[in-house]
């Protein structure tokens, strides 16, 4: 390889800087999916019997279901038997109790990802649960959170220590029969985070889970459950990365949020799974079910997502506005470059009176990518005074990508007021030249303009992550203008 070609190769590889693989010995469940595998996972986690039964019933149900085909995404059939459903770094002895006992290889991995887990280097004010393939490796600041009664731990640990809470809420927002991928997750979910904020407590720090897929041929099926009891408040953030591989890997997560009376949950996602290369090879299939239930009066759930990774994104974080005066929000940035396909949006289900929802979606398409906003605003008969505002903006870079907007609006109450605004625009040559003439090079100009386009959504992110997200927006679009 010539010097120049080598440099170019290096540059190309740099674009997804989380593409490395950690060399660590792992133990796997037998390949493929069967009742045995479901039992294997449940046993690994020392789960109570009711949990195993729940999993098995989901598995049996899943066998009768078919994959949804309505999204605007295209991919070859997935062979569900050709993957591992459980992979975990082999423990040196038992499950680590403290940081000192965590495999240094793992700590190094997270350091490389910019998520230091050692006490001295931790982001102050952010507690992190680090999930590596199918298990949580460490949760920071646990003791400090316990002082105020906040439970923040791996869901596998919650099943052992707080079974009554898990049993009460698990599947109460996304039932095990919900949809093909959610049902699959219910059968084989391995880890994820559990959060409980007691009545009247404002969680003193940002909670965050960092998901990392490492092992090859392995799916990640995490399950996150967050409960904000009456008058509680929590802000939670998840981040995701995966190694660069030619194969497609499946990620089918379920996230359930429950907000009781006067409670508020703010859930932010920076999704940066490996998107595949510029020829569309490899990348994560991201089929995720996220739903929040505003169960109590005056409760509020706010979703913010920055979706830059994954070969395919199929994801509709939703709010069920059950309590009177409850509020649902969805702020989204979805970037699709090269051959990426994103079909994402939200559902706002207005059940209670005077419920309000707000949807701000910013879709950016570049290269040969297809980006779809798909949303539903449904107002039930009893939801008098319901109010929704939706704004969907699409930005196109280049002439070979696509932007699609598929909004569904169903109103059964004549007092509801629903607004929908949509725009589609391109970055003009004039805008680009204006920036360049000021000394800003093309890539930085694109990043600047796109960040401006997304500003309303970026502003919703916790401070600690907003800067990172802005950089990510720029990186995701590298090579999109030539």
């Amino acid at each position: 390889m010539s010097q120049e070609a080598e440099t170019l190769q290096e540059l190309a590889d740099q674009k997804y800087k989380y593409g490395f693989v950690t060399d660590i010995e792992s133990e796997f469940a037998p390949k493929g999916l069967s009742e045995e595998v479901v039992r294997y996972i449940s046993k690994k986690k020392n789960e109570p019997d009711w949990m195993l039964d729940w999993r098995l019933s989901a598995y049996r149900r899943w066998l009768t279901m078919t994959e949804p085909k309505w999204a605007r995404v295209h991919y070859p059939p997935i062979d569900f038997q050709d993957a591992y459903y459980y992979a975990a770094p082999k423990p040196k002895d038992d499950t680590p109790k403290s940081l000192d006992e965590v495999d240094p290889e793992l700590l190094k991995t997270y350091e490389k990802l910019g998520i230091p887990l050692t006490e001295q280097k931790m982001l102050s004010g952010v507690a992190v649960d680090a999930v590596f393939d199918s298990v949580s490796v460490v949760t920071t600041f646990k003791a400090k959170l316990e002082e105020v009664g906040v439970i923040f731990c791996p869901i596998s640990e919650a099943l052992v220590k707080h079974p009554e809470l898990v049993r009460k809420y698990l599947g109460s927002v996304v039932p095990d029969t919900d949809n093909f991928y959610a049902t699959l997750n219910s059968a084989v979910f391995s880890d994820g985070s559990f959060v409980y904020i007691p009545e009247g407590v404002r969680c003193p720090m940002e909670l965050s889970t960092y998901f990392r897929i490492n092992a090859s041929k392995t799916g990640q099926f995490e399950r996150t459950l967050i409960i904000a009891d009456k008058g509680a408040y929590v802000s939670y953030l998840e981040g995701c990365t995966a190694p660069q591989r030619d194969e497609n890997q499946l990620h089918a997560a379920v996230v359930e949020l429950v907000a009781l009376d006067n409670a508020e949950i703010k859930y932010s996602t920076v999704q940066n799974w490996y998107p595949g290369d510029e020829n569309g090879r490899g990348g994560i299939y991201n089929f995720v079910t996220k739903r929040g239930d505003c169960r109590g009066v005056n409760s509020k759930i706010s979703w913010t997502q920055v979706e830059t990774g994954s070969a395919i994104t199929w994801k509709y974080p939703s709010c069920v506005l059950r309590g009177d005066n409850s509020v649902g929000e969805f702020y989204s940035i979805a970037i699709a470059n090269h051959y990426q396909q994103a079909d994402t949006g939200t559902k706002m289900i207005h059940l209670g009176r005077n419920t309000k929802s707000r949807i701000i979606s910013k879709g950016i398409s570049a290269g040969l990518a297809q980006n779809t906003y798909r949303g539903l605003v449904r107002v039930h008969q009893k939801a008098a005074g319901a109010r929704n505002f939706t704004q969907c903006d699409s930005l196109l870079l280049g002439s070979k990508c696509g932007a699609h907007t598929v909004p569904y609006i169903e109103s059964r109450n004549p007092t509801a007021i629903l607004e929908h605004e949509a725009t589609t625009s391109k970055i003009s040559d004039d805008q680009l030249f204006y920036c360049i003439s000021r000394g800003i090079d093309t890539e930085e100009a694109v990043a600047l303009i796109v960040n401006g386009f997304c500003r309303e959504v970026l502003q919703q992110l916790p401070m600690e992550f907003a800067v990172e997200a802005q950089k990510l927006v720029g990186i995701s679009l590298e090579g999109s203008v030539g």
């Binding site: 204006y434 003439s437 000021r438 000394g439 600047l448 401006g452």
Partner: protein, 254 residues
């Protein structure tokens, strides 16, 4: 002509979409001088500014441009900016969601990087931006609003002058800065430009009308026709042009 030459254009030919627009343009601008370029529509005035700034699609077919002793045409457009070329746009572009401050900071630091200088941190930048804004009577509010979005014509042009003040170019090209401005707005912009006149800064003022030159008084006036300069003189040439019209003056020259 002052001693040092800032910009020298020699027999420049340039095409846009295959059509030759500049046909043998030659011009020498000394350090600290103000040159006005006047001429009818389609004469190549705006093409000159875009070609100097390096806009894609404006292809130089022959000729040379030397700027501060270097071959300007060999530089990328952003490098030309870093070297000291500034183009004040006839129609400044809107960039939704990007505040004027953010845009300016990005530009100032992008140029610093290209020149191998350290970037300004947020506090340092804010200080210089506020100083410049104060000098040019630009409100704090305007600095925070998205760049040019919802700005009046006068505000947009004042914003161009503000950018000029912060980027400190060696050669500022004002492309029909007076277009769309009422007399008060034009005076304000002209005051801003005059405040930035300096011995080491030259101006190319492109305009249709003599009016602007009452406020930004040029050292030289050039009349453009069919892709090159057909007549040059001092500021009185602009006055004669106003009286007699292009046809009479260009006719005489031809």
């Amino acid at each position: 002509m002052s001693e040092t030459v800032m910009l020298e254009i020699e027999d420049l030919h340039a095409t846009v979409q295959g059509k030759e627009i500049l046909k043998g343009l030659s011009l020498k601008v000394g350090s600290g001088e103000v040159h006005a370029i006047m001429g009818p529509n389609g004469a190549g005035k705006s093409t000159t500014s875009y070609t100097l700034a390096g806009r894609e699609g404006y292809d130089v077919t022959s000729g040379r441009v030397t700027f501060k002793g270097a071959d300007l045409l060999a530089l990328k457009p952003e490098e030309r900016a870093a070297k000291g070329i500034f183009l004040a746009f006839q129609y400044p572009l809107e960039i939704p969601g990007v505040s004027t401050l953010t845009f300016l900071k990005t530009a100032v630091n992008a140029q610093a990087k290209l020149r191998g200088e350290p970037p300004l941190d947020a506090a340092q930048f804010l200080r210089v931006a506020r100083e410049a804004a104060k000098m040019l009577n630009v409100s704090e509010d305007m600095l925070k609003r998205p760049l040019n979005v919802g700005f009046s014509g006068g505000e947009k042009k004042r914003n161009e002058v503000l950018q000029m003040a912060l980027l400190k170019p060696s050669l500022a090209i004002l492309d029909e800065t007076d277009s769309g401005l009422d007399i008060d707005a034009m005076k304000l912009v002209a005051e801003g430009v005059n405040a930035l006149r300096a011995p080491d800064r030259s101006f190319l003022v492109i305009t249709h009308y003599q009016r602007l030159l009452d406020y930004i008084v040029p050292d030289y006036v050039h009349i453009f026709a069919d892709g090159r300069i057909v007549r040059s003189g001092d500021k009185t040439l602009a006055l004669r042009l106003e009286e007699q019209g292009y046809d009479a003056l260009i006719g005489k020259a031809a």
